[in-house]
Symmetry: C2
């Protein structure tokens, strides 16, 4: 259903690619492309290494969340822990690393809940969704220049905050969807306590 070769009436193809900006974080491209009707156009987008989000569930069912200032929006956002993949890093290993660095928690069990694409008009970014449970607390190891608060909340509190517009971070909203559908018994999670690397998604 999603292979371009099956959709010639919708598909676009690259004619020429140009890196128009390369910063410390952002890699911006402007491609000349061929359209389905034979015309040409340009597409501008970010090349992103991909990221992970962790949904950490404490033994009493509460969730580990963060408050972090997000500069583009100019305010503190409530969100699940997340971070970018290092080059070649498997998602599960990145999830373990980011959970430990940002919150100090280690998890005994992990479950992969798929990927989300958060800015399909202008970014290649995909965010892998990882659930974590069997948590044990330790000291966080924040990167230099990284400031955030860790706290816990119930799924019901998070539900109310999203309903009321206090939480508007897309990945965090999607985590609630997954959590509710999983708890209802309708969407399945396969938990693994194997070491990272042995169970990275295909």
């Amino acid at each position: 259903m999603t292979r371009p070769s099956q959709d010639p009436h919708l598909s676009e193809h690259c004619l020429e690619t140009t890196q128009v900006y390369r910063g410390h974080m952002l890699d911006v491209r402007r491609d000349r492309i061929g359209l389905p009707d034979g015309g040409t156009a340009h597409r501008e987008y970010i090349v992103h290494p991909g990221a992970v989000m962790i949904v950490p569930i404490l033994d009493d069912g509460r969730l580990v969340l963060e408050r972090q200032f997000r500069y583009p929006l100019g305010r503190v956002m409530i969100e699940f822990p997340a971070g970018k993949l290092d080059a070649g890093e498997p998602g599960r290993r990145c999830a373990e690393r980011e959970l430990l660095e940002e919150t100090g928690y280690r998890a005994r069990e992990w479950a992969y809940a798929g990927v989300l694409h958060n800015a399909i008009a202008y970014s290649t970014e995909g965010i892998e969704i990882w659930f974590a449970r069997g948590l044990s607390a330790g000291a966080s190891q924040l990167d230099e220049g990284e400031f955030l608060e860790v706290f816990s909340a119930s799924a019901e509190e998070l539900d109310g905050w999203i309903r009321d517009g206090k939480v508007t971070d897309a990945k965090t909203m999607i985590a609630l969807l997954w959590l509710q559908r999983w708890r209802a018994g309708d969407w399945a999670l396969e938990w693994s306590n194997e070491p990272a690397g042995a169970c990275a998604p295909a």
Copy 2:
């Protein structure tokens, strides 16, 4: 909870802003910023005008969706209709315009379900969520160089596609969350049949 002045230990502030790329679609900035501990750093991000997503509900309860090739991901994505705000355009008016242009549908009733922020690390984008019902079909009016397919599906089909990873577009996943919480009677939508402009969100 989210005002920077309340969180001096988390907040960053702008020292200097530079537009490092201005394309047809992307406006890229690199700011030098002050950190909570008095240090400095840089932040790179996209300045985005904002967007709307429409969740169109047919009289039989089925949903109007689109299949569209998304160049950054190189494949056709299933998603709800959406589009960028024109300068100064109220969200509701943009939602009416995009629904008509992309699908040909007009709606008798609209309800605002808040905003989502889809790329908080590197974009100012917010996507307003608008539900539409009382739909009447007409001819779509696609922009030049815009190619997409319109189809309908049940909420149950969409639920299965997200569970199975066939639908990974973040805004569309969040639309399902809202739809399910609204249908369960837990999250409220206020429907309006007033003309656009009279009911834009504050």
